[in-house]
C-alpha cells in the first residue's frame, strides 16, 4: 500500500525553510498540500501569500499556537504534508446571515464534495460563526461522515489571517478539506463531573449569564471553592478556569466540554454555544485521567485494522497549559501506541469532530486523533 501522504518537518520559523520544504515535497508525486505552522513563525504576509499563490497544487492548512511532530510539540516550525490523494478544498468565508441562508450557502458551494465521507475542517478560532457552520455542514453532509479538525489562531486572540489557501492566508473563514480516502477518528478528554448539574437559566451563544437563576460567575466561584482547599480571591478565574471547565452531558453519558475563557464577574464566556434550559456540570481532571483518556484514544485508532499512513492530531491548547511539561508525555503515549506512523498535528483553539452519534461538534479541551 502506498503512503497516503509524505511529511516534512522543520523547527525553523524561517519562511525560506518553509519554501524549501514545500518545494521538496512538491517534487514527490503528490496532489495536494496541508500546511500546519506555528503562529510564532511570524511569516510576513506578502511572502507567504506569494508562496501560496505560486503553488500549482491545492493547498490547505492553518497557523496554530503549537504544532506536533513525532511525539513532541513545537512553538516554532512547520509541518508540510504532501497528500498523495487529491483533496478537494473548499473555503467558506463566514458571514452573518440567517440559518436558511447558511444552508443555501453551504449547498451551493459544496456540490463537488457532496459524495465525500472524510473531511478535515479548519476554522479561524476567532470566528464565532464557525460552530453554526459546523452544524449546518453536518445537516448537509449527514450522519455517517468522519471529521477531524480544529480552530486555528493564537493565544493572544488577536484577529489575523490564519488559514492557508491557494489565494493566500485568510482570516474569518472555515476550510473544508475533503479526502477521497477512508478516515477514522477517536476523541477523548479525560474530564469528569465534579459537581452539578446546574440549569442554564440565561445564555446567549457563548455567553452563560446565569445558572440556577444565579450569576454564573458567583455560582462558578462557589462551586470551584468547594473543590479547592485555599480561599479563592476575586481574580481566581485566571488561575482556576483551566482546571474547572463546564460540561454538558449527553443522554448516553458523553461529556461535551465547554471551556470558560473569560468573565466580566457576572457571565462566563465559553468556547462554543451553551443553550438555555440545558444542564451544565462543573468538570475536573488530573494528569492521570487525561493521559488515560489519551491512551484510550490511541488504542481505539490502533485497534483499527486499516494500514493508515497519516496520523493527525488536533489537541486542545488548554491541555498543554493544564499538563505543562507533561504534554509531551501525552503526545508520546499516542506515538508509542502507534510507533510505525509519525504523529503530526497541532495544538488547536477548539477541536472539531463527529461524536458518537455522528453529529459534527465543536469540542473543547479534547484530543481528536484521526488516521487516513
Amino acid at each position: 500500500m502506498t503512503e497516503a501522504s509524505i511529511v516534512r518537518f522543520t523547527n525553523s520559523s524561517s519562511i525560506d525553510e518553509l519554501n524549501i520544504a514545500i518545494n521538496i515535497v512538491c517534487q514527490e508525486n503528490i496532489q495536494g498540500l496541508l500546511l500546519l505552522t506555528c503562529v510564532d513563525n511570524n511569516y510576513l504576509e506578502p511572502q507567504i501569500n506569494k508562496i501560496l499563490s505560486d503553488c500549482q497544487l491545492p493547498i490547505g492548512g492553518g497557523m496554530f499556537p503549537k504544532i506536533i511532530y513525532h511525539g513532541k510539540n513545537y512553538s516554532q516550525g512547520a509541518i508540510i504534508v504532501g497528500l498523495r490523494i487529491k483533496p478537494e478544498i473548499i473555503n467558506y468565508p463566514m458571514y452573518n446571515s440567517d440559518e436558511r441562508d447558511i444552508d443555501q450557502y453551504i449547498q451551493s458551494n459544496s456540490l463537488v464534495i457532496q459524495h465525500h465521507k472524510s473531511f478535515l475542517i479548519l476554522s479561524d478560532a476567532l470566528c464565532n460563526a464557525s460552530e453554526d457552520f459546523v452544524d449546518h455542514f453536518y445537516n448537509y453532509m449527514g450522519s455517517g461522515v468522519t471529521v477531524i479538525g480544529g480552530g486555528a489562531g493564537s493565544l493572544d486572540f488577536l484577529p489575523r489571517p490564519v488559514i492557508y489557501t491557494n489565494q493566500g492566508v485568510k482570516g474569518y473563514i472555515t476550510q473544508v478539506i475533503a479526502l477521497p480516502c477512508s478516515l477514522i477518528n477517536s476523541i477523548g478528554h479525560g474530564w469528569e463531573i465534579a459537581d452539578g448539574p446546574y440549569l442554564v437559566t440565561s445564555a446567549d451563544g457563548h455567553y452563560v449569564h446565569s445558572l440556577n437563576y444565579q450569576s454564573t460567575f458567583s455560582l462558578y466561584k462557589k462551586v470551584v471553592q468547594q473543590q479547592v482547599a485555599v480561599p479563592l480571591s476575586d481574580n481566581f478565574f485566571v488561575e482556576y478556569a483551566k482546571s474547572f471547565p463546564l460540561g454538558m452531558a449527553s443522554l448516553d453519558g458523553e461529556i461535551l466540554v465547554r471551556d470558560p475563557i473569560q468573565t466580566n464577574a457576572s457571565y462566563l464566556e465559553c468556547v462554543g454555544n451553551v443553550l438555555v434550559n440545558s444542564m451544565v456540570y462543573l468538570l475536573k481532571s488530573d494528569k492521570h485521567k487525561m493521559l488515560a483518556s489519551t491512551q484510550k484514544v490511541a488504542n481505539e485508532i490502533a485497534l483499527d485494522k486499516q494500514e493508515n499512513k497519516t496520523l493527525l492530531l488536533f489537541n486542545c491548547i488548554s491541555r498543554d497549559s493544564f499538563l505543562g511539561t507533561d504534554i509531551n508525555e501525552e503526545l508520546s503515549i499516542i506515538q508509542n501506541t502507534l510507533p510505525e506512523t509519525p504523529l503530526i498535528g497541532a495544538m488547536a483553539l477548539g477541536e472539531i469532530a463527529n461524536t458518537d452519534n455522528g453529529s459534527i461538534r465543536l469540542l473543547n479541551k479534547t484530543t481528536v486523533l484521526g488516521a487516513f
Binding site: 440559518e99 449527514g142 440549569l199 449527553s250 443522554l251 438555555v276 453529529s359
Partner: protein, 605 residues
Amino acid sequence: MNTAMHIMSIQHQLVLAIGEETDLKKMLYTFLHLAGQCLNTTNNHIFIMQDKQGTPVYQLNNDASIQHFLSFPTRKEGIHTNQSSQLMNLVTDFSEKNIDSEVTQFNSSFYYLFKLGEFGVFIIERKNALSKEIQSALPQVINKLTNSCIASINYHTMVFEIKMRKEVEAQIRYQATHDDLTGLYNRMEVQRCLTKAIQATTVEKKTGYVLSINLMNFKSINDAIGYHVGDKVLRQVADRIKNSTDKETTIAIFNGHEFILIIDHLPANKMKAQLIIGDIIAEIIHTIEHPFELAEGNFSLSCFIGYERFTDNSKTAQDIIKNASIAMYEAFKKSKDKALAYKLIMSEQLNQHIRYTKEIKQALINNDFELHYQPQFDHLYNMIGAEALLRWNHPTRGYESPAVYIPIAEESDLIIEIGNYVLEQACRDIKRLRQRVLPTYFEQISINVSAKQLAKRDFVNNVIAMVNKYQIPASSLKIEITESIMMGNLERSIDGLNTLLKFGVTCAIDDFGTGYSSLAYLKRLPASLLKIDRSFVTDIHLDQSNKAIISMIIQLAKSVNMEVIAEGVETEKEVNCLIELGCYKFQGYYFSRPITFNKLLEYRH
C-alpha cells in the same frame, strides 16, 4: 434527581425550540436540530400529510398523503433521507396502526416513531435505546409540536389564501387596466392617467401633450401573414415606443393598433414645449419606420401622429384624446405631414364629414341619387356607348360634386350601397334604352365599381342577378375598375372579373396611368379596354411628355389585346392628336357633357 432534572431540561429545551415560529419548515428545522443534540440522535425526520402541490395539510382528504417533509441531517451515509423507501415504509406501517408511538430496531439503529395528530410522524434515529423515562417525557413535547404544526399550517394556509386573493385581485386590476398583448395601458386607464396629468399640469403650471399614433400598413400584415405575426410586430412597436420615450411617459394602446402617449411636465413656454414634443415625435416616427426583422420576414411600417396640447383643465381627458385622434386622422387623410397638431377646424371638418355621411344615407333612402350618362364616341363620331355617372341631387343644395361625397362614401360601407344602386339603375336604364332604337354602333353602358365593392364576395352574383333580373344582354354592361383594386385581394378580384367575362360582362380599367400598380398584373386582368386618364389627354397636342405616355399606353394595350379610350377630350386638336397616336375612342366635353337618361334616350347623332 439528576435524571429528573435532565428530563426536565430536555423537555424545556425542546419545547423552547418549537417556539412561536410561523414558518413550518423553519420551526421544524430548529426543533430537529436541537432534538439531535438533546436526544443524541443520529437522524431525525418529520413526515407530514401534503396535498398534490406538496403543501402541508392537517385534515384528512382524498388528495393528501403522508410524505417526507424534513430531516436533520438531510443525509444518512451519503443518501438523501427524503429518498429513503425504508423510512417511507416504516411511516406507512406505523400510520395504519392505532398507536401513538412505536419503536423498531433494524440496521443497528433504533427508530422511535411518534404520531403528530393524524397528519404526521416524527422519527428519532439513535444508535442506542432511549431510556423509559425519556420516552415517557416525550409525548408532552410531541403534543406541543403537533399543535405548533397545526398553527403553522393554518397560518401558512391563511397567508397563502390572502396572497392568492391579492394576486387574483392584482391580476384583475391589471387586466382591467392593461392591454393583454402589449402590456400597455388600455383606454380606461389612459383616461384616468390623463385626468391626473391634467390636474398636475394645471397645478404646476406646466404643459402636457397627448399623442395619438396610428400605424399604417399594419392591417395588411395581419391580413396577409396572419395575426401571430401582427401581434409580434405590435409588441415590438410597443417596446420601441417605450424605449424612445422616458419612463415618465404614459403609453396606452386601443382600437388594435392606435397608441396614445401622455407626455407631461413640459415647460409652460409653448415654444420650448413644442420643440421638445417635436423631437419626441421625430424619434417615434424614426423608430417605427425602422424595418421589423422577424423570423417570418422583414416588415416595414409607417405611422401618422396627431397631438393635442393641454395646459389647464379646460378640456376633459376624453376631449383631449379625441382631439389628438382627430389630428392623427387628418394627418393620415392628407398624407402630407407625418404629424399634425390638433386645430379646431379639424373637428369642424370631421363633424361635417359625419353630417355628410348621414346625408348620403338619407339620400339613398330618399332616392336622391341619379345616374347621368356621358356618351362615348369613335373617330367617326359614332356614339359607341356611355359611362354612367352618379349624381346626387341634394334637396336644398342641388347637385353635389362626386369629388366630395364619393371619398366620404368610400370611407364607409356606404360605397357598397351606392354601388348597388348604380348597378341596378344602370341595368334598369339599359333595359329601357334597348326598348328604343339604339345607334348602330352603340355597344354598352359602363358603370364604375369601387375596389371595396369588387372585393365583396357577393359582387359577381349581384351583377349576374341584376342582368338576369332586367333581362338585358350581359354584353350591354361594362364595369370600370381602377388600378386601386390591385392593392386589395387581387386574386379574388381577378377570379370575379373572369367569371363576369365568361358571363358576358366586360371590364375596363379606368384612369389608367395614374395608379401605382405593377404592369405585370395588367396582363392577368380580364379587361378589354384601357381608359386613358384625362390628366394625360388635356392639351396633349402641346405636351410632348404626355404624348409619349399616351403613345406608350396605346402600345401597351395593343400588346395585351386591349382597346383604348381617351377620357376628358375637350378640343378638336386633342382628338386629332389622339387619332395620330392610334387612339380612336373618346369621351369628353368636346363630344358631350354628361346628360340625363332622358336626354340620352333622345340623343341623336
